[in-house]
Structure formats: structure tokens, C-alpha cells
């Protein structure tokens, strides 16, 4: 259990920080997830740990977003545009600029590490979760669906939108 948590804690923190944009909040969420995971699922088989841990962490992150949104509504403030879950983007805005360079070219010489991370940070929450769990954490579709609490079909949709969104952002 210790090796598992030690191996996952840094990535968990980065995920939480990308979702909250706040290191302190991210640390709290990761600690909370670790405590809940260890006290509830310590006796479960080892192979079940990754999706279980991520399910707890992603639920904590979603709860955090809900609290922020309701607080934002109360105070009349709104979050950053594009943060709400998978609202349909304006197709005109999403259409590629014909004068822009090909995405491949843009990625080859322009994209820095910071830009890449910012692009991930700007993804709507569900797309971000699907992308990070599938592409970075390496969970398969079924485990990603378990971690996100949705169907496998939804995972594929979120991931496809996330990749489209990232391509879009990085070709600007």
C-alpha cells in the first residue's frame, strides 16, 4: 500500500492542481483521497487499487468544483469560460483557421511544456479527467469509466473531445 501511494501521489497532485489551479487545494484533495482510500479499500486486491483511488480523487475534485460553482453563483461570480462540463462549443470558434499553420508544424516548433500544460488545464473538467486517466495514468477504458463514474462510451466521447480541444488550442 505504501509503495502504491508513493508511486501515485505526485501524479495525483498534478491532476488535482490542473483541475483546481491551486497547490494548497490540490494537496488537501490528495490527502483526503489517500485517507479515504486507505481506510476503506486497504483490504481490496492490489489490481483494483488504481481505479478505486482515482475514483475517490476524481469525486473529490468534482465535489470541489461543485462547491466552487455554487459559491460563485452566490457571490455573482463565474468561473473561467470553458470550465463547465462539456458544454457544446461554438463550431465557428472551433473551426480551424485556414491561415494557421498545420497543427503538426505548430507542435514541432512552438509548443513548450508550459503551453502544453496550460492547454490541459483549460480543458473542461470531464475532458481533462478522461485525458489524464487514459493518456497519462494509463487506465483502460473500463477502469477510466469506473474512476469517472460514467459509461465507457462517455469516456471515449470525453477523450475524443479532449484531443480535439487540445489540437485546437495548440495550433493557435
Amino acid at each position: 500500500m505504501e509503495r502504491f501511494l508513493a508511486g501515485i501521489e505526485r501524479r495525483a497532485l498534478v491532476m488535482a492542481e490542473l483541475a483546481t489551479h491551486d497547490r494548497e487545494e490540490a494537496l488537501d484533495l490528495v490527502q483526503d483521497a489517500m485517507l479515504a482510500f486507505a481506510s476503506r479499500y486497504g483490504n481490496r486486491p492490489r489490481e483494483e487499487w488504481p481505479p478505486l483511488f482515482h475514483r475517490i480523487l476524481q469525486n473529490r475534485i468534482r465535489d470541489w468544483h461543485r462547491r466552487r460553482q455554487s459559491r460563485g453563483r452566490w457571490w455573482g461570480r463565474f468561473g473561467r469560460p470553458g470550465r463547465d462540463d462539456d458544454e457544446e462549443a461554438d463550431p465557428i470558434q472551433q473551426a480551424p483557421d485556414p491561415r494557421a499553420r498545420l497543427p503538426e508544424e505548430a507542435l514541432m516548433d512552438e509548443a513548450t511544456m508550459e503551453r502544453l500544460l496550460e492547454a490541459v488545464e483549460r480543458l473542461p473538467l470531464r475532458q481533462q479527467q478522461a485525458f489524464l486517466l487514459r493518456v497519462w495514468e494509463g487506465l483502460d477504458v473500463a477502469d477510466t469509466a469506473r474512476a469517472m463514474g460514467c459509461s465507457a462510451g462517455s469516456v471515449k466521447t470525453h477523450l475524443s473531445r479532449a484531443l480535439g480541444n487540445l489540437r485546437e488550442q495548440l495550433q493557435e
Binding site: 498534478v14 489524464l132 489540437r167
Partner: protein, 130 residues
């Protein structure tokens, strides 16, 4: 081409994320370690946590015993509040059944002292006469 682009994009982002995770500062890593240690102390059966011999069944049995104890205690209190008065001890019963004024018993010492004084005064009087 789109697949190759996605692979390239995914690879670059994965590397950027890895670098971010590897580059966390010492203070953050220390807090992560503390969080991990706290979590491990909460594991079922860990030394820092109160262990229930027998596991879940014993825990349920303990909870049921606790509930039963509370019910018995509640029933006893209710019986005392709603039921007949407790039997009265013999001396108390005698006092209550007596036709004497209750204040006589409450100031019994005073009346005994008064009686002793009266007898003493009578004795002095008799002695003076003789």
C-alpha cells in the same frame, strides 16, 4: 495523419506532465509524504488504529451489544420515572405513618435537649429544697 498527430500530441503532453510531477519542490513532497503516512495509519489493522479482533463480525457484535446496553439503561430509567415509588425503609415508614407532626422529627435533637434541661432544672430545685 490525425492518429500520428494524436500520438505525437499525447507523447508531448505526457512528457510535460511527467516533468511537472518529477519537478515538485521539497516542501510539497514532504507534505505528500506526511499525508501518505497519515493515510497508512488509518489502514484497517494498522498499529495506529484500534483493531477489532475478529474483524467485521466482532465490530457488528460490539455495536449490537452497545445498542442493547443503551436500551436496557433507557428502559430502567423509564421504569423508575413512570413506575411506582421505591419501597421505603422501615424507619422512614414509621416516621411517615406516625401521627406526629413531621417537624417534631426534624427538630428531635432540640426537644431532647429541652427535656434534659427541664429534668436538670427540676433536680436543682429538689436539691435546693432539701
Amino acid at each position: 495523419m490525425s492518429e500520428r498527430l494524436d500520438d505525437d500530441l499525447e507523447g508531448r503532453i505526457r512528457r510535460a506532465l511527467d516533468e511537472k510531477a518529477e519537478g515538485l519542490d521539497a516542501a510539497t513532497l514532504s507534505r505528500l509524504r506526511q499525508a501518505r503516512e497519515r493515510a497508512l495509519a488509518r489502514r484497517p489493522g494498522s498499529p495506529g488504529r484500534l483493531a477489532w479482533p475478529g474483524g467485521g463480525a466482532a465490530r457488528w457484535a460490539g455495536a449490537l451489544a452497545g445498542v442493547a446496553l443503551l436500551l436496557v439503561a433507557g428502559w430502567t430509567v423509564w421504569r423508575q420515572a413512570a413506575g411506582p415509588a421505591l419501597p421505603v425503609a422501615g424507619d422512614d415508614l414509621e416516621v411517615l405513618a406516625s401521627a406526629e407532626d413531621l417537624s417534631l422529627y426534624q427538630e428531635l435533637d432540640f426537644y431532647l435537649w429541652l427535656e434534659r434541661e427541664r429534668k436538670s432544672a427540676l433536680a436543682d430545685e429538689v436539691e435546693d429544697r432539701t
